[in-house]
């Protein structure tokens, strides 16, 4: 019988392999896991895969793909081999993220109060004030505890040497945390035996921590502040997650039409009349949240919500206008932001970034399009980007035109070296597939990070794009005690 890992030869100078070192030896924290997987037969693997599939289907864990046959529900592909992060590595990640979120939060507080960082010319003012996510309506509004970003899902990757780098800060409405929780349940059902020899730190209490964070930011201190989740509705691709989190926290899942603002206070419409709301965990983007202030054609929001928020009668998580700090252009300034507010060097580095808005950088970008990954500053989900080495000359030409037309809107990065991890590319065989990591950071009275996160994996062979809309899947992610 061939053993699963016998076929696994990830040697490469360009990519860091999570499991096998450059000396072709298994990294110590993966040793037991490899042994266990080597004991499974192909039939074992198939049977367990079937268990997992049934679990996801029954739970209705699906996401919606736009543009294909008016939105088809698909099961989010799940890879059976868990990603393992030893505690020593995790501590660095944790420290780095706490530092980064602290600094970004101070940055937002500054932008919406005194704008010192602009006056000190650390960041060109026009970059911030010209960002489409900067909400000048909120200058002078201070949210409870001074916290703007309550829930973050930063995307981390590892370079060829295995250093963790921040690829993106998602400070608006990051999604995916429900997959993190469900992946763990699925893994425990399919491979209870794998958990035997590892002390895996639990992620299960994330919903309780989220609820606690949301209660901490209640506008007035109360014994039991009323928290609701606000979803755009059943047609949103992350609707499953919204309903899942509401159910796990034991709070109501509301749509815009369930809420009504009266006298600058927010209420739910219930069968027993109007009930006051203190905190809204909103999964509706800024632009859609209040037709009186933002897009008047939005039917997803609540008329008058923003005024209630400005008056301090309700707290929104995340705050309005946080998008200005996760803009891909501002991203390139995060090291300076950390230095400016905390006087520290960043624990987690950025990926090297060129700004098309800077004439020198623009020239470099246009000359090296075939080597770079170019991204639109305000797009997410893997849309609006060009992966240089995989593109055709025509595609590059078309993209170059777009960049020159609106340079402020584009950044470029080297084709990043996402680390690789053994994953099933078909039913019974594994290959090195690129992965990233999205840990979830909660910020209320203090910052806490659930040990683990969502590991996304590019299951299409050779692909570097891990987004679920582009054929990506995910893995259970373990932080283990050393």
């Amino acid at each position: 019988m061939t053993r699963l890992f016998d076929q696994y030869h990830p040697q490469s100078d360009r990519f860091f392999d999570e499991v096998i070192s450059h000396e072709s030896a298994p990294r110590p924290h993966y040793g037991i896991m490899m042994q266990r997987f080597n004991q499974f037969s192909a039939a074992d693997i198939r049977a367990r895969r079937e268990l997992v599939n049934i679990f996801f289907r029954n739970q209705g864990i699906t996401f919606t793909v736009y543009g294909v046959d008016e939105g088809i529900e698909r099961i989010f592909p799940f890879d059976l081999i868990p990603r393992i992060i030893p505690a020593s590595e995790w501590e660095g990640i944790e420290r780095g993220l706490i530092q980064r979120i602290t600094a970004l939060n101070l940055f937002l507080a500054d932008l919406y109060q005194d704008q010192k960082i602009l006056r000190d010319k650390i960041i060109p003012a026009e970059l911030v004030l010209g960002s489409k996510h900067f909400r000048r309506e909120f200058v002078g509004v201070r949210p409870p505890l001074g916290v703007y970003i309550h829930v973050t899902g930063s995307d981390l990757i590892r370079d060829a040497e295995g250093r963790y780098l921040v690829l993106e800060d998602n400070l608006r409405t990051p999604s995916g945390v429900s997959y993190m929780l469900q992946n763990r349940i699925a893994m425990k059902r399919a491979f209870p035996v794998l958990f035997d020899r590892y002390t895996v730190r639990p992620v299960e209490n994330y919903p309780q921590q989220l609820l606690r964070t949301l209660q901490e930011i209640s506008p007035t201190p109360k014994l039991d502040p009323k928290v609701v989740v606000l979803t755009p509705g059943i047609y949103n691709s992350a609707y499953f997650e919204h309903s899942f989190l509401a159910r796990q926290m034991g709070v109501q899942l509301t749509e815009g039409r369930d809420l009504v603002v009266n006298n600058n206070k927010v209420y739910t419409r219930t069968t027993r009349g109007l009930k006051i709301v203190d905190v809204i965990y909103r999964r509706v983007d800024d632009e859609f949240i209040d037709p009186l202030v933002f897009r008047p054609d939005s039917v997803l929001g609540v008329a008058g919500l923003i005024n209630a928020y400005r008056k301090g009668n309700v707290t929104l998580a995340n705050a309005i206008g946080t998008g200005v700090a996760d803009d891909k252009v501002i991203y390139s300034f995060v090291p300076q932001i950390i230095k400016y507010y905390l006087g520290e060097d960043p624990v987690l580095d950025n990926v090297e970034t060129w700004l098309a808005g800077n004439p020198k950088h623009l020239k470099y970008i246009l000359e090296n399009l075939d080597k770079l990954v170019v991204k639109a500053a305000n797009e997410s989900g893997g849309y609006g980007m060009l992966v240089g080495p995989e593109s055709t000359p025509e595609q590059r030409e078309r993209f170059a035109e777009k960049i020159v037309e609106n340079p402020r809107n584009y950044i470029a990065q080297p084709t990043i070296s996402l680390s690789r991890h053994p994953s099933f590319f078909n039913e019974t065989e594994i290959a090195p597939c690129h992965i990233d990591l999205r840990p979830y950071v909660l910020n209320g009275k203090s910052i806490s990070i659930v040990p683990g996160g969502l590991t996304r994996v590019a299951l299409r062979r050779g692909s570097l794009v891990v987004n679920s809309s582009q054929g990506g899947g995910s893995k259970d992610t373990w932080v283990i005690d050393n």
Binding site: G60, Y235, R247, E255, D258, V260, R269, T271, G273
Partner: protein, 355 residues
């Protein structure tokens, strides 16, 4: 609970019940035709037109099909998406409503409803024509299973009460419509000579009405073999213990409404409770002789109107809580789904989320 959630539970349940009733009407019609085949051809429009009259919009049907025959009517009532009351549309609406409150219902309920939806997607009209019995049985069983699952996996609190109200208002309305149309047909046919309809063909037709309510056996236990229209009317309208009779359904809906408001007999807390209490009292003290005297049609039409008014008040009280008071004259326009115009109640399209 959130008004929207209550509303979705109500319509989920109502549409599921509607699909079951449509399946029942069609099923019995097919059976009936097997009995009558020797007398009249199966495709005779007399057998099929009433189904459209009771369950859908004849004008819309006529715009799509030239004839009231078995194929067209079945196709229209089972599969047509343009017919908002077809089985497929009803189950889609039930599912849509369930999906929007998926965190409030039990996962077993969702699974059952979802299964039926996918089953319907997989069935071809040809399958239904070649084996109607199995198909309709599948729908009826799915509905029974859903109700059983709901009763056993969903907490019996406010949300459950809205599920009950949806089910029983729909059932009462469907039974009234069925009796209305059958009675109308049988009494206005030119060959009739007696005041009350009789004769062997009519008896078969009346038995079909009973069967479509799964009521034949229960009826026989009460009236032994005396199948005459008067007894049948008495049973289907006024019987207090048979779960598909109109009176039973109204009592059950009343009980569910009381659970929500805390009302009890003689003391109503709101307009819905008042209307249903009044209706329940009228049904309790009515006799079949009085009904015949008043005329079966007017009596049943009054019930249908009463049910529509209850639906409308229910909406205003529990679902549209904050909407400003609407002048009565505007109600039919503002609430196109109440069924006050004699059409069947439908979930308001304006309530459906657009994106």
């Amino acid at each position: 609970m959130l008004s929207r959630v209550a509303e979705s539970l109500f319509w989920m349940s109502r549409y599921f019940e509607r699909a079951e009733n449509t399946a029942r009407f069609l099923d019995v019609n097919f059976n009936l035709l097997l009995d009558l085949d020797s007398i009249t051809p199966v495709d005779h429009p007399n057998y099929w037109k009433p189904l459209i009259m009771v369950m859908a919009d004849p004008e819309h049907f006529n715009s799509l099909y030239p004839e009231y025959d078995a194929h067209s009517v079945t196709d229209y009532l089972v599969f047509n998406r343009g017919n908002s009351n077809s089985i497929l549309s009803s189950i889609s609406m039930a599912r849509e409503n369930a999906r929007s409150v998926i965190e409030s219902i039990s996962s077993e309920m969702w699974e059952q409803l979802n299964n039926l939806y996918h089953f319907l997607q997989s069935v071809s009209p040809q399958q239904v024509h070649s084996d109607p019995y199995t198909f309709y049985k599948e729908i009826k069983n799915a509905s029974h299973l859903f109700q059983g699952i709901t009763d056993n996996t969903f907490s019996h609190n406010e949300g459950w009460a809205f599920v009950q109200i949806g089910k029983y208002l729909e059932r009462a309305d469907n039974s009234a419509r069925l009796i209305d149309v059958k009675y109308h047909m049988l009494t206005t046919s030119p060959a009739r000579h007696s005041d009350l309809v009789s004769g062997s063909v009519d008896i078969i037709q009346w038995m079909a009405v009973l069967k479509s309510c799964s009521a034949l056996e229960a009826f026989r236990k009460v009236y032994l073999s005396k199948i005459d229209p008067e007894n049948i009317l008495d049973f289907l309208i006024l019987d207090r213990s048979f779960p598909r009779s109109i009176t039973f359904s109204i009592c059950a809906a009343q009980e569910a409404l009381w659970r929500i408001s805390g009302s009890s007999s003689h003391r109503y807390a709101n307009n819905v409770d008042r209307l249903i209490g009044k209706m329940e009292a009228e049904m309790s003290y009515a006799t079949v002789e009085e009904i015949l005297q008043q005329g079966v049609r007017p009596f049943l039409e009054e019930i249908e109107q009463g049910l529509a008014r209850i639906g409308e008040q229910l909406h205003l009280l529990y679902f549209a809580y904050h909407t400003p008071k609407i002048e009565p004259a505007d109600i039919s326009e503002a609430l196109p789904f109440t069924g006050l115009d004699g059409r069947r109640a439908n979930w308001s399209q304006s309530q459906q989320q657009q994106q």
